[in-house]
């Protein structure tokens, strides 16, 4: 469900950019998605196909670049890698973590015609 509206967002951006960047179809879309963005990648690919049908992105392939989840530990003051929001600090075990990266959901680059 969620992935559906994300895909609508992507296609909307692709259609808007078509004006500014002078293209009429999109061949590939590079997305940067973090593990904390709450996006199911399989479902995203599936929805994209459905949403892109009949648009200028109909034949577009998704290239997903997964970024790292990063957090700052308030207890041991280290920047650590986390896979989920409720993970403990791998260094000291504390749950007092402030997520600093890994929740991004960005379109990076397009291959267009």
């Amino acid at each position: 469900m969620h992935e559906m509206s994300i895909c609508e967002g992507i296609v909307q951006v692709l259609e808007e950019q078509a004006c500014a960047q002078n293209y009429k179809s999109v061949g590939k879309v590079w997305l940067e998605i973090g593990p904390l963005a709450g996006v199911e990648l399989e479902s995203l690919r599936f929805c994209f196909e459905a949403v892109a049908k009949g648009t200028l992105a109909e034949d577009a392939k998704l290239e997903i670049v997964e970024t790292k989840g990063l957090a700052w530990c308030m207890k041991c003051s280290n920047t650590v890698e986390v896979a989920r929001r409720f993970d403990a600090c791998p260094t000291c075990g504390s749950f007092q973590l402030q997520v600093t990266g890994g929740d991004e959901m960005r379109i990076k680059e397009l291959e267009v015609n």
Partner: protein, 285 residues
């Protein structure tokens, strides 16, 4: 349907009608320029231009929603309005809590409500029975409210300066977390009839919220819900989240919630022309 920003596409209804045909006093960033469009038309008929090339765009996928949210947030700030976005699973008690809050918080500040639901208008009706103004947004298949729908709902609602706008989101702990509506705070409601582990099952929502209301505590004696464990989970995903235990039915704990709302509203109002709204009811600051 709005041909400018494309709203009204899909099944979104506001009080049963399609969103208004663009008076748009919440002035969307209609960046859509029609010259650009005709150029596309030209190029698409010109053969030989089909050259593959790369385009860097670096755009946040939720950027569009975020720009509508910023407009809503501006409107709230200009009018001295506290806007709260209430999120939960279906049945956690959002509407019950709102109805009681409207009855008990008093006439000042003026409260109005935007109700989100996929199909029905029942919740807006329940709110209107309290005497408050309410607008129903039906999202159809859509599983969350977005900032654009809220912009249109606000045109309909015309909220009072110095008032409070509660937004009851669609019952869903997943995607409303990603869609900022321009609110000051998200308030997540979790009832004790659900699992203690909801905060770690839906970490994004608990992370995005500033306050968690643990509702239906009147039922605790009949259940095996471990309150401390639940609170611990919530703090794991969001060390800064505030937690209040309430019952929308018995009224227990509700006074702390009202105090939280008043404090949040005072933050919005500080320095605003309508800032004296609490001076009669709330004593001197």
């Amino acid at each position: 349907m709005c041909s400018v920003c494309g709203c009204g596409h899909g099944e979104v209804k506001i009080d049963g009608k399609e969103p208004r045909n663009h008076s748009h006093d919440h002035s969307h960033d209609h960046s859509h320029d029609h010259e650009g469009e005709s150029e596309i038309g030209v190029y698409s008929h010109a053969p030989g231009l089909a050259q593959k090339r790369m385009v860097q765009i670096e755009q946040d996928i939720l950027a569009k929603n975020n720009s509508y949210a910023a407009q809503n947030s501006n409107l709230f700030s200009k009018q001295g309005i506290l806007a709260l976005n209430l999120v939960s699973s279906p049945g956690s008690g959002k509407t019950s809590l709102l109805a009681r809050t409207i009855r008990e918080l008093g006439k000042k500040p003026v409260i109005s409500v935007i109700e989100g639901d996929q199909q029905t208008a029942n919740d807006a009706q329940r709110i209107r029975e309290t005497g408050a103004k309410a607008v129903q947004v039906n999202t159809g298949k859509g599983c969350h409210l977005d900032a654009h729908m809220i912009g249109h709902a606000l045109e309909e609602l015309a909220p009072h300066d110095g008032g409070i706008v509660f937004i009851e989101n669609v019952g869903n702990l997943v995607c409303p977390a990603g869609f900022d509506l321009g609110e000051a705070h998200k308030v997540v409601i979790l009832s004790v009839t659900e699992g203690e582990d909801k905060p770690i099952k839906y970490p994004d929502m608990f992370h995005a919220s500033d306050l968690m209301l643990l509702n239906k505590i009147d039922l605790l004696p009949h259940l095996e819900f471990e309150v401390e464990r639940c609170i611990d989970y919530a703090l794991r995903v969001n060390p800064a989240i505030k937690i209040l235990k309430v019952s929308a039915t018995s009224g227990e704990g509700m006074e702390q919630w009202y105090e939280w709302v008043r404090t949040a509203h005072k933050m919005v109002l500080s320095g605003h022309p309508t800032a004296d709204i609490y001076s009669k009811t709330g004593g001197k600051e």
